[in-house]
């Protein structure tokens, strides 16, 4: 069974350009699907549709075989966890208490967190290597630590589907790699992740498949090597790209912004 299946998703904001137009996709266990596209291509809107935060104008999403529209907020949250890029405000609570919010959909009212909730939080803190920060205040963490704490909260939910929004924004290269390693590492126990990012090169290195969006439409979905090619990217991103390959043995493709590309005939 697919973890997530979306069929013909459409969503319009008020305005001429549809935010998402007819996108279909599937996510299997063990898969890390990276959604790429230029600014305004509908990446974030797609992620919100998949997470049930927006209701599609047309089309439908199924989570573990159940239509998203028929799920309660708590049922949805037990299936899919979201790792936001940022929060509106940072509560002055400990890392551990913050991660416990991932258990909201599991905790019974009037009972409070049970042993399995505490265990899920503890193992999520270990998995994201923030267990030594458990009693620290959220407000004083570095950007890389925050990213890991947000991931820890999502893992604590034990939801099989992870939706991750721009996990590397504002991080230095070392922390970018660590963040994606952590996300990629979660795929082993039956989880799947959909990651939205601007970074085509991280997509190239970590994705099992890449989905390229342009103006709300799906341009191409395939392994990174199929997407990071001039004939696919140039119509979407323009000509200012340099295409290269990492050294052997993996030889993954990469792209760089290029100020003065040779004019093509």
């Amino acid at each position: 069974m697919k973890l997530l299946a979306a069929h013909d998703l459409c969503f319009d904001y008020p305005g001429p350009v549809p935010a998402v137009a007819g996108v279909s996709l599937e996510l299997s266990a063990g898969e890390l699907l990276v959604v790429c596209g230029p600014n305004g291509s509908g990446k974030s809107t797609l992620l919100r549709l998949l997470g049930g935060l927006l209701v599609p104008a047309r089309g439908e999403v199924a989570l573990l075989g159940r239509p998203l529209a028929g799920l309660s907020a708590a049922e949805r949250a037990r299936r899919v966890a979201r790792v936001p890029q940022s929060l509106v405000s940072v509560p002055e609570v400990s890392v551990e208490h913050f991660a416990l919010a991932g258990r909201y959909a599991h905790v019974r009212r009037f009972r409070g967190p049970a042993d399995n909730d505490r265990r899920a939080v503890a193992s999520a803190l270990v998995a994201t290597e923030v267990d030594d920060l458990a009693q620290r205040s959220l407000g004083e963490l570095s950007g890389g630590q925050r990213q890991r704490v947000l991931l820890a909260r999502a893992l604590a939910s034990e939801a099989p589907i992870l939706l991750v929004d721009e996990p590397t924004t504002g991080l230095d290269p070392e922390h970018q790699v660590r963040a994606l390693q952590l996300i990629a590492g979660q795929r082993s126990d039956g989880r799947g992740a959909i990651v939205v990012t601007h970074d085509l090169n991280l997509a190239s290195q970590f994705a099992t498949s890449v989905l390229l969006l342009d103006r709300g439409r799906l341009v191409r979905r395939g392994p990174p090597a199929d997407v990071l090619r001039p004939e696919v990217l140039a119509p979407v991103y323009g000509e200012h790209l340099y295409y290269g390959r990492m050294p052997a043995p993996d030889g993954r493709p990469f792209v760089l912004p290029w100020l003065d590309p040779p004019v093509r005939a």
């Binding site: 919100r48 997470g51 049930g52 935060l53 309660s72 907020a73 708590a74 949805r76 949250a77 037990r78 966890a81 979201r82 936001p84 940022s86 929060l87 509106v88 405000s89 940072v90 509560p91 002055e92 609570v93 400990s94 208490h97 919010a101 991932g102 909201y104 959909a105 905790v107 009212r109 009037f110 009693q135 620290r136 205040s137 407000g139 004083e140 950007g143 925050r146 939910s157």
Partner: protein, 358 residues
């Protein structure tokens, strides 16, 4: 390494407040504009109120009962306004929000003024009338209806298809309050010649805890009880809402229901409080801040602490007011403004911290 532990544990503060409440209530019954009752007489009088003994001689029993209702009303009003303040601040994710933003205060004042216009002033004259009956309750009743009406108006103007956005609610509340304030000023200006009614409106504007009856007590504590019953469904949810609407929804919070419940609980408790005591500024703003300062930002602690916290706070302020000024005691709204305003400024200056977003 910064502290994530608040200054006090919520449990300890709650215990302290609960222990402080009964002696404060007793003291509030003993001290008033007409002097201090000795402890023995006070206890005898209280027993008489409960039906277990002979009433105190002469007017003493009446004075004691008026003070008892005043104290119980003050406790209920303080608790309700503080609770409403915590709810509204949590809902708006903004420490500057106060119950009055929902239109509660203005609406209640308008309703009460309407009742005063229709039925005449209230006060000792009305209370001592034998056939006054429920007339004493008309002002609170109209105040309550006015408060609910204003909240419904604000909610209706700021919602679309059953969902309302918090920033729109904030702006609508300010606009509705401005209009109501204008109406009130207009009415007051037209009635300046009618001393009784002007005085009653004035009393309402600055709040009054004098000449309350058991009905006032019942009204405010009923509102508080209903609002308190909502708390188990709001405490964690309001914490999660601090990260933003989308974030809370993604965690599984039914945010529409939480916002509705929070608005209803905040409006109901504040409306009942304003209906029985008029406007008491700043309490709904200061007490939540004090509690947050002492016990941290978790609503699981803030909400239950607001009830004894607000009660103790207003009782203490009233006690000092009466002990220091005796028969010249100021309306509670004036005291709160005089204490609360500078206090709040000091808090802002001391606790100035950059608002951080990530």
């Amino acid at each position: 390494m910064s502290r994530t532990r608040p200054l006090l544990r919520a449990r300890h503060l709650g215990l302290f407040l609960l222990v402080a409440l009964p002696p404060l209530l007793l003291l509030s019954v003993r001290v008033g504009t007409t002097g201090v009752l000795d402890l023995g007489a006070t206890l005898d009088g209280l027993r008489a109120v409960a039906g277990w003994g002979e009433p105190l001689p002469g007017t003493l029993q009446t004075i004691l009962e008026l003070r008892l209702w005043r104290a119980l009303t003050a406790a209920g009003v303080g608790a309700s306004l503080a609770l409403s303040g915590v709810l509204v601040q949590g809902l708006f994710r903004n420490g500057l929000a106060a119950p009055s933003l929902l239109g509660v205060t203005g609406g209640a004042a308008l309703g009460a003024t309407g009742a005063l216009l229709l039925f005449g002033g209230y006060g000792p004259a009305l209370l001592t009338l034998h056939d006054a009956g429920l007339r004493t309750l008309l002002v609170p009743l109209f105040g309550f209806l006015g408060a609910l009406g204003a909240v419904l108006l604000v909610a209706a103007l700021s919602s679309r298809a059953g969902r309302f956005s918090v920033p729109t609610l904030l702006l609508t509340g300010i606009a509705v309050n401005t209009v109501i304030g204008g109406l009130l000023s207009f009415v007051s200006a037209m009635l300046l010649d009618d001393w009784d009614i002007s005085r009653a409106i004035m009393a309402w504007t600055f709040g009054t805890l004098a000449d309350r009856s058991g009905w006032h007590v019942l009204t405010v504590w009923s509102g508080l009880a209903i609002a308190s019953a909502c708390l188990p469904f709001l405490a964690w949810e309001l914490d999660l809402l601090q990260g933003g609407e989308d974030d809370a929804r993604a965690l599984g919070v039914d945010t529409g229901r939480v916002r509705l419940l929070a608005v209803v609980a905040a409006a109901l408790s504040a409306a009942a409080a304003v209906a029985v005591a008029g406007q008491i500024a700043f309490l709904g703003l200061v007490v939540p801040h004090l509690l947050r300062l002492l016990c941290g930002p978790r609503h699981g602690a803030l909400l239950p602490l607001a009830v004894p916290g607000g009660a103790v706070f207003l009782l203490a302020v009233e006690l000092v007011n009466h002990a220091a000024l005796a028969e010249r005691a100021l309306p509670p709204g004036v005291v709160m403004a005089l204490i609360g305003g500078p206090f709040f400024l000091a808090l802002l200056a001391w606790n100035r911290r950059e608002v951080e977003t990530w």
